[in-house]
């Protein structure tokens, strides 16, 4: 087996995550799908790091994790405050700016 298979798996997971973002309407599940996409990218970075034989890919994956953690904190806070004001976690309900 060639490590390129990890890239195929990462592409598949990223696609599933992207499809989930488009399909689901629950903000929490949409957010989970975004996390899935970030994880797929990390897997691709780690696989690239191995294929090229240096650690730069792993460092980038590490930074991605840090940014994902910060993003989760802020995103979930937004979802909670949205739920407080609208009593729903559906992304369809947050349409105040729509004409």
């Amino acid at each position: 087996m060639n490590p390129v298979n990890y890239l195929y798996l990462a592409a598949l997971l990223f696609t599933i995550g992207a499809t989930g973002v488009l399909i689901r309407r629950n903000a929490i599940v949409v957010f989970m799908c975004v996390e899935l996409m970030l994880n797929a990218c990390n897997l691709a970075f780690v696989a690239f790091s191995r294929m090229h034989g240096n650690l730069d890919g792993q460092v980038i994956a590490f930074f991605t994790m840090v940014v994902a953690a910060a993003e989760v904190v802020v995103g979930l806070a937004i979802i909670v405050s949205l739920f407080r004001s609208r009593h729903s976690a559906s992304v369809d309900d947050a349409s105040l700016m729509k004409l």
Partner: protein
Amino acid sequence: MSGLAAYSTSGGEAFQFWVLGTVAVIGALCTVFMRRAVHSALCLAGTMIVLAVFYLANGAYFLGVVQIVVYTGAIMMLFLFVVMLVGVTAADSLKETIKGQRWLALLCGLGFGILLIGGIGNASLSEFSGIGEANAGGNVQGLAARLFTTYVFAFEITGALLITAAVGAMVLTHRERTERARTQRELAEQRVREGTYLPPLPAPGVYARHNAVDIAGLLPDGTPSDLTVSKTLRDRGQVRDVSQEAINDLRAMEQRAEERLERKAIDPPTFKRAEEASK
């Protein structure tokens, strides 16, 4: 794996890849297609654990452990907490707001996946150099050397990002009270003025045999009263209805008595009365 270029990994790793890769894809699909947010979160946690194993297999020992500690340990638990806070109405509605949006989204996803995988397939990636040489001085040491020399500026920016995120979360979830909290007396006066429901709400579970919060109290005519159970349980559809149980018991007892007395059902009046009471 210390050679300069290799073409294939060990058979054990291939086996691990195919087994765990299947698990990861199934977990990802379940994340997208499960109706309840809690199930999605648990499936995603499974996928992340599998990815941690893949990191370890790829020689990223530090990232593998960090993945388990940070992602499955911290982030997924944060998700579960929010599902707990928000989750009463967390099941998705299946009504489409934009017509045909779901099929279009699936089509887009399919096209995107074909594009990505075709791109990877076109690249000539038959040989790879392996991480063994880069990991020779230890994976954590190597990462630390990179992090504190080449990437030191990005690392410090990361600190600023984390502080901003923490402050942002606090600002977003903190609620400043703009008006004085109403006292009990004012609330009582308001209730009297509105004249909707004056006394305190009746207690749940006021039924001779059961005593639980998920059982609605019965009105004099035997129907369950919605006032007695909390709104959360009603929204989740977890209210148990026991109003029929007494009648069913009575019916079963009568049947047993009839069997013992070897009396065939000749006098239906008692039966009919029980059914009328249930209506």
